[in-house]
Subunit: 225 residues, 2 copies
């Protein structure tokens, strides 16, 4: 089985809103539902584990009943850090039945089914795969407020999600990590094991919603979806 | 005097539109006019040189009459590359009267007057300054489609514009460069001279309009301006 762990355990209300970011509505539907639907409709995904803040789980379950999320197998509580939340998701999975685990940010509702499938397929072949996008900005290396170099952006990629792994590789990566410290992403933990994670080229439209203007942009992009 | 060179000499019609990108309207006004207005209203700017595709100059002049652009001193023709376009702008400037030159992308209408002033002030103090924004994505270094490292993004910045320079430093940088090859930005040419360009922290809202969705986002952000 291929399992998606969707992480939406952040407790940030950055937009000054009453609701947490992941439950704010876009086109009449909570953000997290949009994200779940991407994985629901992806033929490469068999089951979904959703990681939420503990106190949101009950409310979410009532909301989720309105949507046809047949693959949503578990909704579990997150930890103190993002890495801990992913770890909780990983621990909830039956290791015997799992081949590939795809980890995804709940705040990325614009991933396509095809991108998810390609990332999983790559992980099946090479052990670990990361969906990436080109770096379009000129990137400067700085030191003490001064530019010390311009990095050749052809050699750089922005790490998106999903990031997919053969289950045993990801488990070993977590076993050797301190989950109380947030890693920037799961690939980094696997890189530290010495694995060369394969990249899968994805679309820049797969944005992570963090600022209020991202929310507006996501609405426009979801209308075109 | 402090002079802004605003570069909008691209001939791309990426949006499948009849008009060039820089002349498409946002909130009833051509994109390039929005950008010009940011510099018009900035007290640190004395004159503006606008660089356009040659065949657009006459039409633009008619359009510009409708707007109150008192600082727009010259509208000149661009070259084959962006670097050549900036070079044309630089050559049109009276060196005796010029202290600071600020170079800006015509496709960045969301820069604030305060950001322009801070960048110019920094260039006055240290010779060269670049407006930058934080890197929010996790950045991977790749080789042959595999991740070979995760770069600490605290040491990275995205180069925005304006980029401002003492006139003589920029002139020397161009004298030592091949303008037929496009540099990613003007800072890079000055970095090659051995100067340590100072960074000025700016807002992520100062986006460069490249994709159609950027256009829609810019409209929303300009409404909040």
């Amino acid at each position: 089985m291929n399992i998606a762990i969707i992480v939406a355990a952040g407790s940030g209300t950055r937009f000054g809103a009453e609701k947490l970011k992941q439950f704010l509505e876009i086109l009449g539907k909570p953000l997290i539902i949009h994200t779940l639907e991407r994985f629901e409709s992806c033929p490469s995904i068999d089951e979904i584990v959703l990681v939420l803040p503990f106190k949101e789980i009950e409310n979410f379950k009532k909301t989720a009943e309105k949507f046809n999320l047949k693959k949503l197998a578990k909704t579990i509580a997150g930890g103190q850090t993002r890495t801990e939340s992913v770890f909780n998701g990983l621990n909830s999975i039956d290791s015997k039945r799992t081949e590939i685990v795809a980890i995804h940010d709940g705040a990325r509702p614009l991933v396509s089914s095809e991108e998810i499938s390609r990332t999983i397929e790559q992980a099946r072949e090479t052990g670990a795969a990361c969906l990436v996008a080109a770096v379009t900005d000129t990137i400067k290396e700085i030191c003490d407020g001064k530019i010390v170099g311009t990095i050749d952006r052809k050699q750089l990629r922005r790490a998106l999600t999903p990031q997919a792994f053969q289950f045993d590789i990801l488990q070993r990566a977590f076993a050797q990590s301190d989950v109380s410290e947030t890693a920037t992403d799961e690939c980094f933990l696997v890189e530290k094991l010495g694995y060369k994670v394969a990249t899968v080229e994805g679309s820049a439209k797969n944005i992570k919603i963090t600022a209020p203007e991202d929310f507006i942009l996501a609405e426009i992009l979801l209308q075109q979806f």
